[in-house]
Amino acid sequence: MSDVVGNAFIVLGVLLIVIAGVAVLRLPDVLARANAAAKASGLGLASIFLGAAIHIGTTDAYVKLGLAIVIQFVSAPVAGHVLGRAAYRSSPEETSATLTHDDLAGELPPRGTPPASGTAHR
């Protein structure tokens, strides 16, 4: 029984990561790619961890892989946000394919200008 559940979680996780790979290869611009990679690989990796912990079954595995799942769930959205923001700041013209509503349009200085001293945006 636990083998079946573990297998199901591992298959789900690997499928999500493969889908993230296809998305990184085929989506039209960097914001879409960062979004797809962050969502799919965050949940996919956590799912693989859970499946492996169920398979192994020791307390050690549950503790370590459970902690890895928590870290993954906390860090994946933050990392995705940081990468998207960095992409927008480094090359805004490359992010125009899917960006229909630009919340940061007036917030950030145009590319090439040094940030004004004392601003919180870095």
Binding site: I17, V18, A61, S75, V78, V82, A86, S90, G112
Partner: protein
């Protein structure tokens, strides 16, 4: 354990697609996203290695790699966001 082999092959496929995006990627941020995905597929493969070889030491490797991957992504984001392309 044929399912684990199949899963490892799938992770290898994801890694290869990430590498292709690193080679193609028009911007540095594209390459950062793709290397992130490559790291995730490697961590998944290490996790499956625990099942394949019954080597429980790799559980620690998974835990540390997860944390280090996050730190590396944050550092890359800060580096790219400053505009040095």
């Amino acid at each position: 354990m044929t399912l684990v082999d199949l899963a490892l092959a799938g992770l290898g496929l994801a890694f290869a697609m990430g590498l292709l995006r690193v080679a193609l990627g028009p911007t540095v941020a594209d390459r950062a996203v793709a290397t992130d995905l490559c790291l995730f597929s490697v961590i998944g493969a290490v996790t499956l290695t625990v099942l394949r070889t019954d080597a429980a030491q790799f559980e620690d490797v998974v835990l540390v790699a997860t944390m280090l991957g996050f730190l590396a992504t944050i550092a890359l984001g800060a580096l790219i966001g400053k505009g040095g392309e």
